[in-house]
């Protein structure tokens, strides 16, 4: 290691502490973006208030801090309100080379993102920073997430200067876990952040976690390691025909107690209570462990072990009659309700649950928080590698299932509030690695309030009430789901034609059109989904 890199590493470590960061504001390597003054200048140069009001038509919330507003976010963060003069002064102080052109990348293909890139280009040009922007396609992960061989000094393997992306978090740790040693593609190692990541992941005490979140937010905020831009909102829309009968609203991207079995809808001309929605399958039903609640048909069709409220706080059992966590947090036990059945009438057994836990552990694209929980179960490593046939940490006695964890996981209850078991007998001979390719996903057999009735792939799917559902037979007689992605390009047309009674969208551009319909009600829901800029501080080969 050269003297220069030793100095750089030392400075990187020093800059990670909040007390001295403002004092030692200087680059830690030859990349000027490693200079906090330059990063702050970028933050001051962007008028996010105006961008939110114009490009996003007011359908977003300007971000201050990584975390959404709530008890886990400090209230004294620096806001970096739009101040181009301050940005210019900081750049002058840092000796910014105005001939340098920043390479900014993004991976969203919507028009609002393209508009945002153009706006950023103009705002940065105004303070003397040139930037080009480009869409990354194909294997996006390898272009944005690959980490350097040397996580302290780099160079980075990613080739961009700034990345526009998002963090959509099921658990708040997800906002910060990439700050652990060796996981950051673009930020040199920050020892204090390593400790804090370990702290918030190593406890179930919300007070201790909050302390960690506060300190991490301050470190990121004061050093501008990332620039939070805006909090995306989710919009639930409902036609006047639909009555949720008091059921709460929540984060529709995940599973929560939405009381759908009690929803009612005004009968159509034939006297039948039919509800239209979207997000039906076009080629197959997605495994419900991948995107959890995004595909509404999966939420209708599958129950989870535990139940969360709209803010995703676990509140009780769904398929579980009772549950408990040991004092050391390493043993989770739950007992299935008596008499539960799959939609084909066969009983839901502990074997189904055990098989499902194992399959979710091996399934490569299981949602990261859920998979992190599964991988902490005793024997998970050997099971994944194929050295063991079963997960040694999972056992059952009657309807009671016990899960022993090798390491503490702070999100056990949260994960099991999102985890929907599958009927194991339907997957005999199926390798969990290729679970999505099983024929089962053409017409799944679930456990939830509605069962899948008719599937005309890529045209429509119908669901009907599951008679004898353990929370009561649903009142809506039929659900018709049109195929779409979670960003439904036909949403407004179908809504205008009366073919959309319920659904949700994150596309701000759809909201004014939906709100203009006299029979449509739109409810904004705050979700943990922060759009932000990642800044590459490492030297990299293209520079």
């Amino acid at each position: 290691m050269t003297f220069k890199t030793l100095i750089a590493a030392g400075l990187a470590a020093l800059l990670s502490t909040t007390a001295i960061a403002p004092v030692l504001a200087q680059p830690i390597n030859e990349n000027p973006l490693s200079d906090p003054r330059v990063r702050k200048a970028i933050a001051y140069a962007l008028d996010m208030e105006t961008i939110v009001e114009t490009i996003f038509e007011g359908q977003a919330v300007r971000a201050v801090g990584m975390l959404p507003d709530g008890p886990n976010k400090p209230t004294d963060l620096i806001r970096y309100d739009y101040d181009p003069d301050k940005a210019r002064a900081l750049l002058a102080e840092a000796g910014w080379d105005s001939s340098r052109v920043l390479d900014v990348v993004y991976y969203y293909t919507d028009q609002a993102t393209a508009d945002l890139m153009a706006a950023m280009q103009a705002y940065l040009a105004d303070v003397g920073i040139s930037m080009n922007y480009r869409l990354v396609e194909g294997d996006v992960a390898s272009q944005i997430s690959v980490v350097p061989d040397d996580p302290v000094n780099g160079p980075s393997k990613v080739t961009w200067d700034m990345l526009y992306g998002a963090r959509a978090a099921l658990a708040l740790q997800e906002y910060f876990n990439r700050y652990a040693y060796g996981l950051k593609p673009m930020i040199p190692n920050i020892p204090r952040m390593n400790e804090l990541v370990a702290k918030v992941n190593g406890t179930t005490d919300p007070e201790v976690q909050r302390e960690g979140y506060f300190e991490m937010e301050h470190i990121i905020n004061e050093n501008v390691y990332q620039i939070p831009l805006y909090y995306q909102q989710l919009y639930t829309y409902e036609s006047d025909r639909l009555d949720r009968n008091g059921a709460p609203y929540g984060n529709e991207q995940y599973n929560y107690n939405w009381g759908v079995e009690n929803w009612t809808i005004a009968p159509d001309a034939s006297g039948k209570a039919v509800m239209y929605t979207n997000a039906g399958p076009s080629q197959f039903f997605e495994v419900p462990w991948q995107n959890l609640g995004i595909w509404v048909a999966n939420k209708f069709a599958f129950d989870t072990i535990l139940e969360a409220d709209g803010a995703l706080t676990p509140i009780g059992g769904e398929m579980a009659e009772s549950y408990s966590v040991s004092e050391d947090g390493l043993t989770f036990t739950f007992t299935l309700k008596d008499g539960l059945t799959w939609h084909d009438g066969s009983p839901i057994t502990a074997d189904d649950v055990i098989w499902s836990i194992g399959a979710a552990t091996k399934f490569p694209v299981t949602q990261p928080v859920l998979q992190a929980t599964m991988k902490k179960i005793e024997g998970a490593d050997a099971f994944i590698k194929g050295e063991a046939e079963t997960l040694s940490g999972v056992s059952a006695e009657g309807n009671t299932i016990t899960i022993k964890f090798a390491r503490l996981d702070p999100n056990v209850l949260l994960s099991f509030s999102q985890f929907a078991p599958l009927p194991s007998k339907q997957f005999e001979g199926v390798d969990p690695v290729t679970l999505q390719q099983a024929a089962f996903w053409q017409k799944p057999i679930g456990s939830g309030p509605f069962k899948i009735d008719e599937v005309v792939m890529n045209d429509y799917t119908t669901l009907v009430p599951f008679e004898g559902y353990h929370k009561g037979t649903p009142k809506i007689e039929q659900i018709i789901a049109r195929p779409s992605s979670d960003n439904d390009g036909n949403l407004l047309v179908n809504a205008q034609a009366g073919r959309a009674d319920f659904g949700y969208t994150k596309a701000a551009g759809d909201v004014p059109g939906l709100e203009a319909l006299a029979y449509m009600n739109v409810y904004p829901v705050d979700i943990p989904y922060t759009r932000m800029l990642w800044i590459n501080q490492f030297p990299h080969p293209t520079r």
Binding site: G165, Q283, V365, P368, T434, Q437, D459, R482
Partner: protein, 320 residues
């Protein structure tokens, strides 16, 4: 003639192979693969690379390009289309469910556009220089020039959302059994798809008819005292129809390839829609099978046109 046809078929086989190879190569050069499409970029960094690699291996993506192509091709030769990488569905089953929807849409549009386009084209030629001719020429130009999606959106706005005559999209609804149940869903996409086809046929039929009407045999027919309708329809129209038939022959591939834009605008569950989904998810086997079917349709249409041309014009085969 038989030798000519056989030779054309023999040329067709290596052409199909070469085109398929190029399509496969094009997909190979596209960044990413079926697995990278399955990962949400927002959480890409949280995925376990080893497990993703296991999935790639399970789907056969770890093999070199030429090995994968050859495996696909040899399976195809044995009548095995393979399975979708995204959902594991047999591709034969995907084709069996999507192709009828596309055939239904395209066949209606093709028949409609052929009949209406030919009649309007002939009418335009017979009324050459009149207001009718001018109006039809303008309509034809508009039909050819304005993109299909625009007509589609206008049709949805007028006939579905305002007049409520037709549904906004989809092919069917729960409880539909017969073709007649589905007919209201078919009308708008078929008519919009046929606009551009009709306009093209009309313009082709007009110029072909004008050409035929200027020939000597028409003058001869008139000089023989035949009624004008007979001169126009039995002598002029029959001759004018030949190049129109060739044009229609070249449009037969739309029966297989579908109209991607129309299927997207009208949420029509056909091959075109499936092709777009498969390309987006880089589902090689599905893309290749649909591409192969489209290539075969184009080549067969070309063969049919060549044979028809050879039958009609002996110089074509004698020239060989």
């Amino acid at each position: 003639m038989l030798t000519y046809i056989i030779r054309r078929i023999l040329i067709l086989i290596p052409m199909a192979f070469a085109i398929c190879f190029l399509v496969y190569l094009g997909l190979e050069l596209t960044p990413g693969d079926a697995v990278s499409h399955m990962i949400n970029p927002d959480s890409a960094g949280s995925m376990d690379p080893a497990q993703l690699e296991a999935l790639r291996q399970s789907l056969g993506l770890g093999q070199p390009f030429h090995v994968r192509f050859w495996a696909w091709f040899t399976n195809l030769m044995q009548g095995n289309f393979g399975y979708s990488m995204s959902g594991g569905v047999p591709i034969a089953s995907i084709i069996a469910t999507r192709l009828p929807a596309t055939l239904e849409l395209a066949a209606v549009a093709l028949v409609f556009s052929t009949l209406v386009g030919s009649l309007l084209g002939v009418l335009s030629a017979l009324k050459r220089g009149s207001k009718t001719d001018s109006a039809l020429t303008v309509v034809g130009m508009l039909g050819v020039s304005i993109p299909e999606f625009f007509f589609g959106l206008v049709a949805i706005w007028v006939f579905a959302l305002n007049l409520g005559w037709f549904p906004v999209g989809g092919r069917s609804m729960p409880g539909y059994v017969t073709f007649w149940d589905r007919l209201p869903h078919l009308v708008m996409p078929a008519m919009v798809l046929s606009i551009m086809l009709t306009a093209g046929v009309m313009r082709y039929a007009r110029s072909s008819m004008l050409d035929a009407l200027s020939r000597d045999f028409i003058k001869t027919a008139r000089s023989k005292g035949l009624p004008e309708w007979r001169v126009n329809l039995l002598h002029g129209f029959r001759v004018a129809l030949t190049p129109v038939v060739v044009l229609i022959g070249f449009r037969l591939p739309v029966l297989i390839g579908g109209s991607v834009i129309i299927e997207q605008v009208f949420q029509w569950p056909g091959i075109g829609n499936e092709f777009i989904s498969a390309v987006r998810s880089q589902d090689y086997p599905v893309v290749m099978t649909i591409a192969l079917l489209s290539v075969m349709a184009v080549l067969l249409a070309s063969l049919i046109v060549d044979v028809l041309t050879a039958v009609i014009d002996p110089r074509v085969r004698l020239g060989d």
